[in-house]
């Protein structure tokens, strides 16, 4: 222990004597930490960086591979230590702490008009905190129904389209009709039930979080908020049309059963199509269907992937120019195809590659206009509410352990106590 103490004291003494270094040697170098992880996505990012470097000899971008695992802690440490990457890839629901903490640059005056107008206002809302914009939302994915196409076709049920989706009630009837003999109409992977429930509830007019005139947020579990939970609960506990075993599983865990013909449909993120293309048995026919619609139409919440600039970055203008380059419509398309997601940019969304029927691209692209910021996007205290109140309450409700009244009581009463602590 003494050695440990001595070593730390020595380090502290030495730390006081040394000074921070500079990174530049004449020309500007920007570090871009990307969280791209799929083969095609990493490739697309690296190619774009190479293309930038080839045409901008004075502003070199260094590609740094980041990791989704522990990214918040890693960035927080880097920010505190003044060593953050200049350009930061993250998700919009992770930005609030960094934005309010002053770690991210306000991009309001840095981004070109082209980029600002290309991305819809509703997407910008996901990265707007207070009066500033702290990230460029560039990729997003709706939740869709991945369906066994052969099973659906032979069952004779109406196949929904984005123009004429199933209602939540119709969805329930369809899954009931598809179930029986050890097979299920749907397998809900609800290991993380909160974001799926909240985001899909927008389609039924749910809002859950209500901001008062004083700016404070409270939870109200209204009729619209109950449609999705009630449907899932009924499928799993009353109709037996949803597999009870997958309620505690992640998305990938449901795929073997889906491929084996045990479930007709699996609600998953749009990007899961890549795994399905890789893993589906030869001859397995699948298709992408829109999630059911309700009073709010096909609306659903999303937390887009974002690109931000660190407040400590000494070359914010050049970093913003790189963002502009990276997010030009053709480049945004390359990034979207690499990640099997949708671009936020309206120009990029017009690209024919994103309108192919193959692999369900067209269905997903048709949903892009219905995507809204996730309800909890800017609610302070949401992570604690989610972990301590909403996750266990929803898990118990979906498993049939508690009823809808108890679920509502917990979400509202216990939830508001949590949120109040963050809003004093």
């Amino acid at each position: 222990m003494r050695a440990r103490l001595l070593a730390l004291v020595l380090l502290l003494l030495l730390a006081g004597c040394s000074s921070g270094g500079t990174r530049d040697d004449g020309r500007i170098t920007l570090r871009f930490q990307s969280l791209a992880w799929q083969e095609e996505s990493v490739e697309a990012n690296k190619r774009l960086v190479e293309e930038w470097n080839a045409t901008h000899p004075d502003v070199r971008v260094e590609y740094v591979q980041g990791s989704w695992d522990s990214v918040h802690d890693q960035l927080l440490t880097a920010f505190e230590g003044g060593e953050a990457p200049d350009i930061i890839h993250d998700a919009s629901d992770d930005l609030a702490d960094f934005a309010y903490g002053g770690y991210l640059a306000d991009l309001t005056g840095l981004l070109p008009a082209r980029l600002k107008s290309d991305i819809p206002r509703r997407s910008w809302q996901t990265t707007t905190f207070g009066d500033g914009v702290y990230g460029v939302p560039f990729l997003q994915e709706p939740r869709v129904l991945i369906a066994n196409a052969t099973w659906l076709r032979t069952s004779g049920v109406r196949i929904p389209t984005p123009a004429k989706p199933w209602s939540w009630a119709e969805f329930r009837r369809v899954t009931e009709r598809l179930s029986g003999r050890g097979k299920y109409g749907v397998a809900w992977p609800l290991k993380e039930p909160v974001s799926a429930t909240l985001n899909l509830s927008l389609s039924a007019g749910g809002q859950l979080f209500h901001r008062g005139p004083d700016g404070k947020v409270t939870v109200r579990f209204g009729t619209g908020d109950q449609v999705v939970p009630r449907t899932v609960h009924a499928q799993a506990n009353t109709d037996r049309s949803a597999s009870p075993t997958t309620l505690g599983s992640g998305g990938s865990d449901t795929l073997p059963g889906f491929f084996a013909g045990r479930y007709a449909m699996v609600p998953l993120g749009f990007s899961y199509r890549q795994q399905i293309v890789q893993q589906a048995p030869r001859g397995f026919a699948w298709q992408v269907l829109p999630a059911p619609a309700g009073a709010g139409g096909l609306t659903q919440g999303v937390s887009p992937q974002t690109l931000s600039i660190a407040e400590d970055c000494p070359h914010k203008k050049q970093a913003a120019e790189f963002l502009d380059f990276l997010l030009r419509p053709p480049n945004m398309v390359r990034l979207a195809l690499g990640d099997w997601m949708l671009p936020t940019g309206t120009e990029a969304l017009k690209d024919p590659a994103l309108h192919r029927t193959k692999d369900g691209w067209a269905t997903g692209t048709a949903l892009a206009g219905h995507l809204r910021p996730a309800p909890a996007q800017s609610v302070r205290g949401y992570p604690e509410w989610k972990d301590k109140v909403a996750t266990p309450a929803l898990q118990e409700y979906y498993s049939g352990a508690i009823g809808i009244d108890e679920l509502g009581r917990r979400l509202e009463e216990d939830g508001n106590l949590v949120l109040a602590r963050y809003q004093r």
Partner: protein, 277 residues
């Protein structure tokens, strides 16, 4: 004492079951590493891949600098193990032989210090290393690993030192050996199994460590294997399972090799002091 044949058969069966239980994750990892994507998505997975492939290994090596990462991990883990043992051994000797209140307090503090969560230490540590210009460097990481491994190494080695009878050192002194000669010729050889076991502990701890490496190392050529492995995992825990299994399988090999080489010494270390002479 003689054991009856049925009892012995029972013992072996229990041992075999335990070995299977322990080996299951590793064998499953091995099996997964050789499976093509379509077998990974099967509801009835088989132990032996029906259509074994090296594609996962190829993809893992193509996508990530695995060899460089393995080299960095090896360097960091070996250096941390050697330095930790070099520092901890004399300290352990003093703590074990000098039964003062200070020694007891140090031992107590060592145990308590293991309870500190990483996140409490990481920001001050990061600032210190930044000022030392040791961010994004393997030596910086080694320094952290040594500091991190020292308390437990000290505690572990102190136990081994206590197992060496002081009478042996006294006998050496009576025979005319000086303090240093006694330590080198009498105590050190007896401590060897303990030193090896401690080094192995420090090595494996450093080899598997993820969070410090994630935070302190930035550029791909400096990153260690646990960090590189997470590059096969996406948002919300979605994983590229085949290449991840292939890379994880390779990542377990050095630990297994090191353990296999020195396990006899560890066994010796465990038995030290078990029988009173």
């Amino acid at each position: 004492m003689r054991t009856s044949t049925p009892a012995r058969a029972g013992q072996y069966t229990a041992l075999l079951a335990y070995l299977v239980f322990l080996a299951f994750p590793f064998l499953w990892l091995l099996s997964t590493a050789f499976k093509p994507p379509r077998e990974l998505g099967s509801l009835h997975p088989t132990w032996i891949p029906e259509d074994p492939t090296l594609a996962n290994f190829r993809q893992a090596f193509d996508e990530q600098p695995l060899l460089q990462a393995a080299l960095n991990s090896l360097l960091a883990a070996l250096a941390a193990a050697v330095i930790a043992v070099l520092i901890a051994t004399p300290m352990a000797y003093v703590v074990a032989r000098r039964r003062t209140r200070l020694a007891k307090a140090v031992t107590g503090w060592v145990v308590v210090s293991q309870a500190f969560p990483f996140v409490l230490l990481i920001i001050p540590l990061f600032l210190v290393l930044k000022n030392l210009r040791l961010i994004n460097s393997v030596p910086g990481l080694v320094l952290v690993y040594v500091v991190w491994a020292l308390p437990f190494a000290l505690w572990m080695l102190a136990g081994y030192v206590r197992a060496v009878p002081p009478e042996l050192e006294e006998a050496a002194a009576v025979d005319g050996a000086g303090r240093l000669r006694t330590l080198v010729s009498v105590t050190a050889p007896l401590l060897a199994p303990g030193i090896v076991a401690t080094a192995l502990f420090a090595f494996i701890t450093a080899w598997n460590e993820f969070f410090f490496a994630l935070v302190l190392l930035k550029t791909p050529e400096k990153q260690t294997l646990p960090v590189v492995l997470t590059h096969f995992i996406g948002a919300e825990g979605v994983a590229d399972l085949g290449p991840l299994a292939a890379a994880a399988f390779l990542a377990t090999l050095p630990s297994l090799v090191v353990f296999a080489i020195i396990q006899r010494r560890i066994t010796g270390g465990m038995l030290t002091g078990a029988v009173k002479s």
